[in-house]
Amino acid sequence: MNILIIDDQRFIRETMKADIHKYLAEDNVEIYEASNGNQGIELILAVEAKLDLVILDLKMDQGDGIAVINMLASEPRFTAIPIAVISSSDKRTLELVDSIITGLKLNLLGVFAKPINVNDILTPLLDASDDRNLAHQHESIVQDMAANINVRQLLKNEQLILCYQPKINLKTKEIIGFEVLSRLCDQSNGYIYPDVFLPLVNQQGLNSLFSRMVISQALQCWSRQPLLMAFALSINITADDLTCDELIEYIIECGREYKQIHLILELTESQEIINQDRVLNSIARLIINNIDISLDDFGKSYSTYDRLDAIPFKEIKIDKSFVSDMDINHQHYLIVESTIALAQKMHVKVVAEGVETSAIELILSELGCDVAQGYLYSPPIEGRYLIDWIAQYNRSA
């Protein structure tokens, strides 16, 4: 095993070497040392891609840790080298560096505060080879599956299955609505999830056809069951959908036809707004025609506040990545807290996604969040089981 330690403090390099030798016999490991980033870069270039681990300090004169990270990201042959970042910097700086490295798609084992426990680095490194194999297998399965799926045919054969996840009023614990989540059903592959089929739908230019089918099927499901009429029906829509005039016409028509159903369109945040004026025009038309718009995945995109300013949303949904660990991640807690406060001031309903535990439910209630959604209440439920689930939930509540 070849390990490179880049740290400007000789004592810390010596300590790490001694720590590594507690776990790996000297014969089994070659340790290279660099006392600054520039020297580290020279060594990486000299050893080439034969390094099994780079332990990298951040704050150094003559080439800091970020310079080394940028160099590794610039050469495809180096991107797979496992990196452990070590630093005495504060927690928020470490989190920032973590997100930079993750964004650069480097092989990051972790960002560790000094003093580090070398075992914390070596254990994931040794496990990572197994994980990499598993991830590779998963990727191959997804690719194979995607190659074998004929999305157009599946849609034509009405193999679209809709599931519904409940949204719960945090004060009363009553069900207030459901979000529609789609699956495709294929005889050989079984259930196919959106992460696999949506890129194919997109590639084949079937977006508006697909959205139309989802809307049509969900409204039919609701109109067939009088009990469901009491609940709002939330359907995801992309900015791309909003540029299709025929689809907007269709939604407005549906709104008129199914007047009794409270339809909410959740505009996903991660998609780029294409042709802003056209999108705003469509949103205005939908709102005028009594269709509520919700801002989905709030906080995930840089344009969040722009959109909040420009569009009169009826609700915002805080992205689950902030909610699901807010009881242990203080930064996420602060983001959720301030989003709820902002929503309250703007008189916009706020929905927290990714609620998985009672502890998080309690924190959200205390912060004044209106609505919660997540596995604590239920995973997405197939339409045919919805009435039974509602009855069971109401009994237990």
């Binding site: 400007d8 403090q9 000789r10 001694a18 030798h21 507690k22 005495s88």
Partner: protein
């Protein structure tokens, strides 16, 4: 227990994790590093920023788990920092001499 005794105790906890050969190398390295830092500090003008040296010292103090030294590091001025640096250097040399 005076400050030097506490430092000696912390040093003994740290070094005794390692083999004799490793201990010897780590002791020599630590003394060399602290001496270099003291020399650098002596060469600094009174107006020079000592933040870089303080950052390096904090790194070492964290490895040695010197909580008292770490607690003053954010706020200490040059004189206090010099005192902390010299105290640690003296303690490491005393520890080495006791062996």
């Amino acid at each position: 227990m005076n400050a030097n005794t506490e430092l000696l105790k912390a040093l003994s906890v740290f070094f005794e994790q390692y083999s004799q050969e490793q201990q010897s190398r780590l002791r020599l390295t630590l003394i060399a590093e602290l001496q270099r830092m003291r020399l650098e500090l002596e060469q600094y003008e009174s107006s020079d920023s000592i933040e870089g040296l303080k950052h390096q010292f904090t790194g070492i103090a964290r490895y040695l788990e010197l909580k008292d030294m770490l607690s003053v590091m954010d706020v200490c001025e040059r004189e206090q920092f010099e005192y902390q640096l010299c105290s640690l250097l003296k303690a490491v040399m005393d520890y080495a001499n006791e062996l």
